[in-house]
Subunit: 402 residues, 2 copies
């Protein structure tokens, strides 16, 4: 059952939606209002087993207004990006009802909604939660209001990169050509099981410095960077082509090169912004150096880094390399909490594997204690899924947060 | 007396030449061998009172080979860049002798030379010494061998940016159009006394991490940065125009904007290089933030930063703002050695001026002790000058280092 009918006057459904990490980066809007990007981007959807947003939406005949709770705290539903999603879903729902002549189905399109959404990872972890959050909201609304067809363009109106979280596996956000943004949608490049050996390590830096948000950051880049337009018009199209090829051929070496070059160019554009924006800190740079030294040792890419609008590192590797990569990371960034309550690693990374002496000599690791707050390994995963177990609803039988 | 005649068989001369700091940056060669740049650049020549190279060259009938001593230590004269300068000067010298029918003048064009060169600032200070060094070498050779006309294209063959040190004041290195590099020369944009209020603070970071040299760094950028060519072909020409205008109009606000944007773009290109190059460290970034917060307080630029291929900061300000800027810098980066032997500041910066409370609140300074190794204030200065006081020669009457 996708929708729980609690009575003739209260329906609800619950969705879980994933985070995604871009390997060809989105930075800069062509249209702020419609959230149209300057260039295509390409991402990996990450497994909801490790990171996800979960949203329950109830629609009730007696609700007096639309309401929303984020991580248990009521927020204003008037936020324009939420309104854009709600209005568009209701419009599409009515359209769909008319098309399928759904006169006999219950019509609750105009009833108010209660929305409750949580992340299964601390916001303080600095993970971009808006992509998962809006993907979850839109998928959940779409299910409840029985909207068919592409929902990614609606998720895009919530948060640009949310459109990519509407699909599992490897996903491209096509910027589109139309002025109204109708063709600015996400498309799956390869399904979730296409490259099962791929692993993603997430290293959360223990640094609470407040960053420039990505929305204001990219706005500022569009205004002031003299390099951004060239990147968007000329560099990215080739990289999208090359990255798609690398993914389809499961060519890790090439995948890693483009991933790292894209991360670096995003941060180059931030530096070219005026005043300059800096997201990567000392620890991020230590990770960059470590990755290049490690790959250098093997004369091939075995691991790649990517940084978004913050200092946290996403590392990509293959299953076969994972144990050694984990050992290298754990030796470089040991935690005094390891093995005790509140361990650095979510999920046991297993015992540290001894590193070959030659590799140790090459890496010249100077361990930095407790600079990471959080670390875990995840995989490519599915897009948003309806949660059929009604006990998972975040709203009770009155439609209020549990 | 430009040339000291020690005997009929030994002549010598001594030159002092300045450092320059680019405000429109040179990064990337179009021709590695001829040292032709991808784009024009523009610099300020700094006073030799504070930073300079000093070179004595002797030409002796009985010298058995060309020899060179750098900071008292003999080095190989076979280094191609030195050879390029020597050969070109000798060629031009013969050409000039023929033209002026100098049959009666002593002809020592084919005698060997002894060269001794020193910097009046520690190499460890991390200042780019090659520009001053090659400008000094070429000016000194040009004087000794009586070469007339533009010498900047010869200095360019030693070290690209050395050509800009061949003139005082504000200097543009025109990339030129000819394949043989003949028109790739430096030109004075404005003389040394054009903008006497301008001050330059040099802050040397106390961080001995070995950097990527600028030659290999820019080579790597040319190979791998997808943004560099666009910068060189499209961004820089406009900035050269704007910067020239700002200098001619003594428009500090505009001068500061372009200076900071250029510094940032140079380091953006370094980040876009693969593997990425990082010259700015944590202290550099703290200086960037401090400068933007300071200018923000006055809603106008009162100080600008520039970073080259290293973490050291060059700050530009005007005489009227200098005392407060110095106070802000000294409060942000205090030294435990202040006032004692080995003081941070070369030349007394004067007593710390109390800062207005509102400014203090705005800047939110968290003092960082002993992160600077060295600091001083300098000005725009003259090009290379012959030192007429023969006691300043670095070679003795036998042509050997004193």
């Amino acid at each position: 059952m996708e929708i729980s009918k609690l009575s003739n006057e209260l329906y609800m459904t619950t969705t879980r939606a994933p985070v995604n990490i871009a390997v060809v980066k989105y930075w800069g809007k062509a249209n702020e209002d419609l959230i149209l990007p300057l260039n295509d981007s390409l991402s990996l959807t990450l497994s909801t087993d490790d990171l996800c947003a979960q949203t329950t939406i109830a629609v009730g005949k007696h609700f007096t207004e639309d309401r929303i709770w984020l991580n248990g705290r009521e927020e204003s539903v008037k936020f324009p990006r939420i309104q854009n999603c709600l209005n568009e879903i209701r419009r599409r729902s009515k359209e769909a009802r008319e098309q399928r002549k759904a006169d006999l189905e219950p019509d609750y399109t105009d009833w108010h909604v209660h929305i409750s959404s949580v992340n299964n990872f601390p916001t303080a972890a600095g993970m971009a939660s808006s992509a998962a959050g809006y993907a979850c909201l839109v998928h959940c609304l779409g299910t409840l209001f029985q909207v068919e067809g592409d929902l990614s363009r609606i998720a895009r109106r919530g948060s640009g990169s949310a459109c990519r979280s509407m699909y599992g596996g490897f996903v491209r956000w096509v910027k589109g050509e139309r002025e109204d943004g109708h063709d600015s949608v996400a498309q799956q490049v390869a399904p979730v099981d296409h490259w099962p050996e791929l692993r993603v390590l997430i290293l959360v830096a223990n640094d609470q410095k407040k960053d420039t948000g990505s929305t204001s950051g990219m706005g500022s880049s569009v205004q002031t960077s003299t390099l951004l337009k060239y990147r968007a018009s000329t560099v990215v199209p080739q990289r999208i082509k090359d990255m798609t090829e690398a993914i389809l051929n499961k060519d890790f070496n090439k995948f890693a090169d483009i991933t790292m070059q894209e991360s670096n160019q995003l941060h180059a554009i931030c530096l070219d912004t005026y005043p300059p924006i800096r997201y990567m800190n000392r620890i991020s740079w230590d990770i960059v150096s470590l990755v290049h030294r490690y790959n250098d040792f093997y004369k091939a890419n075995r691991v790649a880094y990517s940084f978004d609008a913050g200092p946290n590192a996403f590392l990509f590797t293959l299953e076969e390399y994972l144990p050694e990569v984990l050992s290298v990371v754990r030796r470089s960034f040991p935690s005094t909490l390891e093995g005790i309550k509140g361990s650095l690693w979510r999920g046991a990374p297993g015992p540290t594997k001894p590193l070959p002496h030659k590799l140790q000599d090459h890496l010249k690791i100077v361990p930095q204690v407790d600079v990471l707050k959080y670390a875990f390994v995840t995989k490519v995963g599915d897009g948003p899924q309806t949660v059929s177990d009604f006990r998972q609803h975040l709203l009770d039988i009155r439609g209020m947060p549990k």
